[in-house]
């Protein structure tokens, strides 16, 4: 694989040179009509190339939220509400209004012009059936957003009532994540839920051929169907990101997702445009220091924070337009701390901290392994190599290990059973390079997964942090913002539970005959995508 990567680098270097020579001779360009009137559809077939990793499933929990499936399949399955990623405000989707009747009761007024793709009418009763099924913490991804018990029922034909067993100010935010599959499918054909996605969105699922493609068709009955929308969608899977970008350059595809910044920029031509957009996610370092001699010392964790050249890494391997992150979420997140102290790259300071710990008896020669999941996100191998170099430069003993995706995920959570991190062995010296998103735009999300003692991916368990975190959870509004911001500032500056590196910037190569605006949550809103027709000139 190493040779393969060297070959890729050599090939890319040669290609960039050749592409530079060829750009002027592109046969693309020209004038286009962007239809504004008429019947919905009419733009023909939209071809989307990507992602790098094949879909593991199209079951509703995975499709309705983040992950590889979400950018496209959220156009099939929809949630009650959606997030305006420009303003961070929650907005209507399948529900037009919502309110908290009391601390434990929420009511949602549903649209009356929606039908599931299998013909099942959409109303409070069927929506309740769908959400009752989906409110399950064991489902992939969407299960991460399920906490406590909830009872869904119909107050009237188009009013959905939700009873909770504990107050939850984030409940509307959760309803932007959890998609609603067809209740008829749930009741009559549950075995098909992993292979046939039936939702209410602007596109209907047609077929999925693993390893080849996934096909959708326009739902002409969709309440917001517009002229110029694509009639069909062909989502083709290509592991090689360079090829994905080239598919758009040649006009074989309209969109390419998950390319590197260089490939995206290299695809710029008469026929393709590179669009970069900051996402709600961030790359980070998770030192698995629970019970570990070296990483367990806060001075070593601070040394790591000073030693890692986050600015260089962010600029070189995430995107020149990205910025260093010192918060576990984007600006606008509830709990974002404006005045948290950053750890500026300072090798001398890091060496001092390592030496200080060593003088106090910490065996800093113990091996540390910087681990990552291959192809988890673009540039991850370069980031891991740089982190190792940075750590060794300040006197730590680090090495790098790449792992296949599934094996890496298993080890990432190895020993972290729900509600317990006590099974982690004392000699575990892993430092993970990873990424996560913050779809709820609330400190709760990284808190619940990465920072609390019960977090699904957490190796952090500090009693003081836990107590303050739990005390802040029920708060709402400014109190919640202030409590979480203070909590993060206090423990990031003293403990470095995790080390954010930089905000994720995604690249989208867009063909010249397609108009689409990607969202910061990675979702490609195809109901807003418009296909052009070349004019006669």
């Amino acid at each position: 694989m190493k040779l393969g990567r060297i070959a890729i680098a050599a090939a890319l270097a040669a290609m960039l040179a050749v592409t530079g020579c060829a750009a002027g001779g592109s046969n693309g360009g020209g004038a286009f009509d962007w239809p504004e009137d008429g019947e919905p559809g009419g733009a023909g077939n939209l071809v989307i190339a990507g992602p790098g990793t094949e879909l593991a499933t199209i079951e509703p929990g995975e499709a309705g939220s983040a992950g590889h499936a979400a950018p496209v399949l959220r156009n099939v399955i929809q949630s009650l509400l959606t997030r305006n990623t420009e303003t961070n405000e929650i907005e209507p989707l399948l529900a037009t209004e919502w309110e908290a009747v009391d601390d434990l009761t929420w009511q949602f007024t549903l649209r009356d012009d929606v039908t599931w793709h299998d013909g099942t009418p959409f109303n409070a009763e069927t929506a309740a059936a769908a959400l009752t099924y989906m409110w399950n913490p064991e489902f992939p991804y969407s299960g991460n957003f399920v906490t406590g018990n909830a009872t869904f029922s119909a107050a009237d034909e188009y009013t959905l009532e939700v009873k909770l067993d504990e107050p939850d100010s984030l409940f509307p935010a959760r309803m932007t994540i959890i998609g609603l599959p067809s209740p008829t499918q749930i009741a009559e054909a549950p075995d098909t839920l992993t292979s046939n996605l039936i939702g209410t969105g602007p596109y209907k699922f047609v077929s999925w051929t693993p390893g080849t493609d996934l096909k959708l068709e326009l739902n002409t009955d969709y309440f917001d169907a517009k002229p110029g929308m694509y009639d069909t969608v062909d989502w083709v899977f290509r592991e090689e990101s360079q090829v994905r970008a080239q598919l758009v350059q040649t006009g074989e595809a309209n969109l390419a997702i998950d390319t590197t910044p260089e490939q995206c920029a290299g695809a710029e031509s008469d026929t393709a445009t590179c669009v970069e957009y900051t996402t709600s996610g961030f790359r980070f370092i998770r030192p698995d220091y629970y019970n570990q001699e070296v990483l367990g010392d806060p001075r070593i964790r601070q040394a790591i924070a000073y030693a890692v050249d986050r600015e260089g890494i962010t600029s070189a391997f995430i995107s020149p337009s990205s910025t260093v992150a010192d918060n576990p979420g984007p600006v606008g997140m509830v709990g974002f701390s404006d005045d948290v102290e950053t750890y500026a790259y300072d090798e001398d300071k890091a060496k001092e901290l390592v030496a200080e710990a060593k003088a106090d008896g910490v065996n800093t020669d113990l091996p540390l392994t910087v681990k990552y999941r291959t192809d988890f996100f673009p540039g991850i191998d370069d980031i891991a190599q740089t982190v190792v170099t940075n750590l060794n430069a300040v006197g730590l003993n680090a090495q790098v290990q790449a792992m296949p995706d599934a094996e890496g995920l298993a080890e990432y959570r190895q020993g972290i059973e729900p509600n317990s991190i006590d099974t982690i062995t004392p000699d575990r010296g892993n430092i993970w390079i990873a990424t996560t998103s913050n779809d709820l735009l609330d400190f709760f999300q990284p808190g619940d997964t990465l920072l609390s003692c019960t977090g699904r991916f957490s190796v952090y368990c500090n009693e003081d942090f836990q107590a303050e975190y739990e005390a802040a959870l029920p708060l709402i509004g400014d109190e919640r913002q202030e409590a979480f911001a203070d909590l993060w500032k206090k423990f990031y500056e003293s403990e470095v539970p995790i080390l954010p590196i930089g905000y994720a910037v995604n690249q989208l190569v867009v063909g010249s005959t397609t108009q689409i605006t990607p969202r910061s949550d990675g979702f490609l809103p195809l109901d807003e995508a418009v296909g052009a027709h070349p004019t006669d000139q």
């Binding site: 040779l3 393969g4 890319l12 064991e138 693993p210 390893g211 592991e239 090689e240 074989e252 959570r413």
Partner: protein, 305 residues
């Protein structure tokens, strides 16, 4: 001939048994399949239930025996990824692999042999030197680089061919060209050496002395006797292509078993890994058996032995 064939057949079964044994024990090292099946939200109860369903709560030797019994019945279980019988998924990918390998062989063998024959016939000429240089260059290329360069030139710059994909005849051109460019040089070199050696032999001199035409001397005497090493190399290439041209399939989005195996490994999909390796090994064994039997036809000395 019959005894020879039976012996080779028995050896083939032994190899498949050893491959199955290796598959079983090597895949034990890949990690806990239950974690891979259940993902990151499994409870201990769920883990125990799946462990029992997959028979992983049994002693290792019992699991091994059950694996052999199931394999003999063509069952490797359902793919974790696609929730379908793993062997069925592998078989669904075989036509794409066979098509790519078959067309590549049809292109590379005639061209490689022709270049080698010309080089041997025109020894010392600029044609031989050119063929030598081309052979060394092509056999030194890395297929990843070749694939990306072909895409850049013929798809991105000239717009003559699609960058990747499957289903239309034009989708075959670039992957076949990639595979062929890498192998033609090797074939040409082997052919040149082998034919040149034959051209020095007494029976070729005698044929020339009898006034036979150069073409007839080449085809009937020199090339025919030079076929054994050429056949050996070509058969090796065919086996390599049939068992999965992983990088070429990945770059061009070709849905063959090489790409399938890579995906299965990335996903930790043990049933699919086992089924793919088993099918690849079986193809290798069958082709090797056929090659051995073909030797008997091609080389009378093997028949006598």
């Amino acid at each position: 001939m019959l005894i020879y064939s039976l012996k080779r057949l028995a050896a083939a079964f032994l190899v498949i048994f050893l491959v199955l044994t290796a598959i079983f024990f090597v895949t034990q090292l890949l990690g806990d399949p239950v974690t891979l099946v259940l993902g990151d939200t499994a409870t201990p109860t769920q883990i125990a239930a799946v462990r029992a369903r997959l028979g992983l709560d049994q002693p290792l030797l019992q699991q091994y025996w059950q694996f052999l019994v199931n394999a003999a019945q063509g069952s490797f279980g359902d793919s974790f990824w696609q929730q379908q019988p793993a062997l069925q998924i592998v078989f669904s990918r075989l036509p794409a692999t066979f098509l790519l390998a078959g067309v590549a062989m049809l292109v590379m063998v005639p061209i490689g042999v022709l270049l080698g024959v010309i080089a041997a016939y025109r020894q010392g000429s600029w044609i031989e030197r050119l063929v030598n240089v081309l052979s060394i260059v092509s056999s030194s290329l890395v297929n990843f680089w070749v694939a990306l360069m072909l895409i850049l030139v013929f798809a991105v710059t000239l717009r003559w061919l699609p960058t990747s994909g499957y289903g239309e005849p034009q989708h075959l051109v670039l992957p076949v060209a990639t595979l062929s460019l890498l192998q033609i040089g090797v074939l040409a070199q082997i052919t040149r050496t082998s034919v040149a050696e034959q051209l020095q032999s007494q029976f070729v001199s005698a044929a020339r002395a009898r006034g036979l035409s150069p073409v007839r001397v080449m085809l009937r005497y020199a090339l025919r006797n030079a076929l054994i090493p050429i056949f050996t190399v070509a058969a090796g290439m065919l086996i390599g292509l049939m068992t999965g041209a992983v990088i070429t399939e990945v770059v061009f989005g070709w849905p063959g078993i090489g790409r399938l195996l890579l995906q299965a490994i990335q996903d930790g999909d043990l049933p699919l890994i086992q089924a793919t390796v088993f099918v690849s090994a079986s193809i290798l064994v069958v082709l090797t058996l056929l090659v051995d039997l073909a030797y008997v036809r091609l080389n009378p000395r093997v028949r006598i032995q």
